[in-house]
Symmetry: C2
Subunit: 600 residues, 2 copies
């Protein structure tokens, strides 16, 4: 049978052959997670995803979540699956056993999540936010706050969200107007309106914890005056159970292009003056705490996009093998119609999809490995290097992967032809659902600004250098393997052009050409992502090439690795090179344009 | 007030300054259509589009068309607008007065249609198909057939469709299995099932004419055995009025990603053995006739995509001017938040949108002018040259413009941020509706194959040479204008690389590298389209540049033309150059990939 959601052979290849995750088990912290256990986890996750979560996908789209008189009802079948999911402790795979987590490596958890999110992103978004909110409390909360909520959240008994956005404070979080007033007992009374709150209200859980950004009365304007509060839907009684309603009212949900199975809520806090929150962390330091959550969320949004892309690829590949249409060009005249996978333009599309999906998978798991190594390292320098690496990878994973995931999902529709546009088939929904990932948790424009404005210069450039060094290592390694040496050399050329371009761009960003530079931040992010795809695909090819010819049954897979790297490096990277040229030229037309010149 | 759908100043610029359509009025055939009349037509079209058709857009999406027991109900407000549209004779703007057409230049009709389609593509698709079907009958029908249907169709009293696709015959029309059986009276009894029939059933008209492809019993397999029939929904009585039901049964409509306001029907013909058709043209020559209709339809699909793109650009531009968010990077610290149009990455997106929309408009109207000149020319050589040009432009207009229209609409969503994903705002629907244009009337993969497989070699390359010659003329003209000379020179370099690449690709397509070549047909189509955009933008800039400084109120517009050309040529064309490099390298990875290597 055709594989669904993800290609298991490839998942295993990345985990075990490219990154050797089972090596982590040599360390006490991960000693349980040997190869056998890892494989079992992935198999269980895959079963759960395919048998339970995937059947939610259609109903998540229609009718989706329903709003009625302040309440949000999730699609009915969510309830049973949610229970199964929580019972399996899948929500806190990589978290500390102290709070109910399973303590597995992040890289392994990501592989399991690839299946879960690919099966039904709407359903998983609830869990993603719960997890992020719990992590926030774990990092910045008081002991009391942790005791109150963490086990309930990591178990999925309670949910979590993230209350940032307001009508006039979207990308510009610092413009928010929600107010927190100090109460004599040390709590705060919160008033304000929040919009675009994913999972802001739902009926699968007995309580919802809303980490909420608000400004304490008298605090400075802008981001420096924002504090973070723990605001429960129901106040928490001394015995830990949910008590009276905390005046967090859902006033409606959005009618969206996709992701209908996750409610995007408008919330009014303290409309009756009865919304009480407790401070998380220090006063006016809310943004820094929220950034940690956002960083995790951004990486997870990258995973969300990737998961739709890998699912769309699996469907398109299967369809291309099944669908018989039109004689193949070089078949003899008497030949019948061929499976469309044989037609060159369909192959081109499948190669784009595969190279993207493979590259994304490797990059995302690599970022997981970076975090796992960070946990294991005793060296402050190494810890810092790894943290830096994660910082640089975050906007690439969020920004580049979600952009390309949308393109991959669009190819999925195209491979299906007319059927791709029909909602009866799965690829249309994957495309629609995917479109938000480029926007939320910081638009991809913001990700590109983060990359050149913050990450390139971070720690005096050390973070960015650490990133480049990783790529350089792979190129050097691959140059030592005869079968992929020409590919390594081609990538090396592009890499050199890239580093030159980065220097030019960095210099311009610090000069009076700053606006011109930032008009190229997105093309630079895209080029950076292309470079990462090529890096990961070369790495894969370098591991695969020496194994070709060893076992007949594996040859197609390993050959496929080398051919995919070859496709991407020789066919797609020249386009990247062209884009880098444009960045180097850095024509200032976009900035020079008079406003009136845009017309309208 | 912000402009809706299209930028009128730019429409006028292309009609009157770039292509001087009013010059056509010097010829008898178009003598009525002087500048004043043309302007009046566009103004009327714009009013009708904005006041009547645009209000249909939301309801076209939801609830859209509804199927009930064999009948399709269009959204109720369609009926009144349809009457107004038909009363204004807008359906047959450029058709012969003999059959009720207005006889205006095609280029002018396209400008009016830009407004209509941009206002509501779902509604207009009904009319597009009626027009295409009528043209088909006009070109290939007998006098009796024309008398029976043409006036009714061009007036919109009756509708038309196009019955090609069957479940196993999508891209491969030749695989169709519908059967026509000769009757003693010269008519044919048709049986078969058709799917994906846009407007196949509806309730705005008293009859529907279905040009239908079927195979006469005993005819050869494949496309050589296909004949075309005129199949009415209701048989036509001797007095010309609709008579008894002709056994064309709508069995359902598709639930699609977009374009809900046009019913995509499954039709069963002759289920009771009572479907009668008459032959259009000769037996077994149906494909050639249908190709004429498809060519018109392909050009119109390009217009459909463009119309969504221009509407999305107008909305995004207006939003970017209104939406205040985040301090501008080079404003002083105390400055408040700025309109997002000032932020460099938003500008970059608006520049991409504008350059695309402007280039598309010029290319589409240019193609209209080519057809107008064809009508006016007495010279067989010139007529042939113009027909060739249209042949080459068709896959570019269909394939490239619809691909880029989807990208433009996606930028429209991105500029809106989170609001872009909400269906309350107009850009999400434009994106969803737009996605089908890349698929129907021949997928864009097929367009790219048409370009390199048919059009490049057509008339021993004369058609393609005529196309290149037009671009060359514009470059030479622009090189003579100091202000745009550097841009012309940059485009010339790309043009030379392009022609080299075309030669390499053409040679490969005729060699044993044929499959590799066709794996690059789509990148070549994309590069060809990029070249056309640059060509048109340079042309615009060359006309605009000398006018700068003449009238103060026009300066922003003319400067905008030059800046847009500069943006596209200096920022986007380097990417095209990279893609051309990849085509020249022509790495065979996509073809070399083993099927099993794709995984799954």
């Amino acid at each position: 049978m055709a594989q669904l959601i993800a290609d298991r052979r490839d998942v295993d290849f990345v985990l075990h052959e490219q990154f050797e995750v089972a090596e982590l088990a040599k360390n006490d912290r991960f000693s349980e997670f040997n190869r056998k256990t890892v494989d079992l986890i992935i198999t269980e996750a895959r079963n759960l995803a395919i048998k339970e979560i995937l059947p939610l996908q259609k109903i998540s789209d229609s009718p989706g979540c329903v709003f009625d008189a302040g309440e949000v009802k999730v699609p009915e079948p969510y309830h049973k699956v949610y229970k199964t999911y929580c019972d399996g402790q899948w929500l806190a795979m990589s978290d500390s056993p102290e709070w109910g987590g399973q303590g597995m490596p992040t890289s392994v958890g990501l592989a399991a999540n690839e299946y879960f999110y690919g099966a039904c992103n709407s359903f998983m978004l609830f869990n993603m936010l719960t997890h992020g909110a719990a992590r926030l409390v774990e990092s910045f909360g008081t002991k009391e706050q942790k005791d109150q909520v963490l086990k309930n959240m990591y178990s999925g008994k309670w949910a979590g969200t993230m209350l940032l956005t307001e009508p006039e404070a979207g990308s510009d979080v610092g413009a928010l107007t929600s107010v927190a007033k100090r109460n004599p007992d040390g709590t705060y009374s919160i008033t304000g309106s929040k919009i675009f709150i994913s999972g802001g209200e739902q009926d699968m859980v007995e309580n919802i914890i809303h980490p909420t950004l608000a400004r304490i009365e008298g605090a400075p304007a802008g981001t420096r005056g924002i504090s973070l509060f723990l605001v429960p839907k129901y106040r928490i009684k001394p015995d830990g159970s949910p008590g009276e309603f905390n005046d967090v009212v859902c006033t409606g949900i959005e009618h969206k292009m996709g992701l209908h199975g996750n409610a995007t809520c408008s919330l009014t806090l303290g409309g009756k003056g009865e919304c009480i929150g407790t401070l998380i962390g220090e006063e006016n330091k809310g943004m820094a705490a929220m950034f940690q959550m956002m960083n995790e969320a951004r990486q997870m949004v990258g995973l969300q996009g990737f998961a739709n892309a890998t699912a769309s690829y699996m469907y398109a590949l299967d369809y291309a093998r099944q669908r018989i249409q039109t004689k193949h060009m070089t078949d003899p005249p008497e030949a019948g119609p061929a499976a469309i996978i044989r037609h060159p333009d369909v192959r081109r599309q499948l190669m784009i999809m595969k190279s993207m999906v493979d590259g994304m998978r490797s990059l995302i798991y690599f970022n997981g490995m970076v975090q796992d190594r960070h946990k294991l390292s005793d060296s402050p320098e190494e810890k810092e290097r790894l943290r830096n690496l994660e910082e640089v990878l975050t906007p690439i994973i969020k920004g580049y992967i979600t952009d390309k995931a949308f393109e991959v999902c669009s190819h999925g529709v195209q491979v299906y032809g007319g059927y791709g546009y029909i909602e009866e088939y799965p690829v249309a929904q994957l495309l629609r659902d995917c479109r938000i990932f480029q926007i939320y948790e910081g638009t991809n424009g913001i990700q590109s600004i983060d990359l050149i404005g913050r990450k390139m210069g971070m720690k005096k450039g050390a973070a960015f250098m650490a990133f480049l060094e990783e790529i350089r290592k792979t190129i050097d390694m691959a140059k030592g393997i005869e079968a992929v040496k020409p590919l390594a050399e081609n990538l090396e050329k592009l890499f050199n052009t890239y580093t030159e371009t980065a220097a030019i761009l960095g210099k311009a960003a610090g000069s009076d050409k700053v606006l011109d530079a930032f008009a190229f931040s997105h093309p630079f992010l895209e080029s950076t992502g292309d470079l990462c795809m090529a890096w990961m695909l070369l790495w894969r090819a370098a591991i695969a090439a020496p194994k070709i010819g060893q076992k007949k049954k594996d040859d197609a897979f390993y050959n496929g690795q080398v051919t995919t790297a070859r496709f991407f490096i020789n066919t797609q990277l020249p386009i990247t090179a062209g884009r880098l040229t444009a960045i180097q030229v850095m024509d200032g037309a976009a900035v020079a344009m008079e406003d009136a010149g845009f017309g309208g």
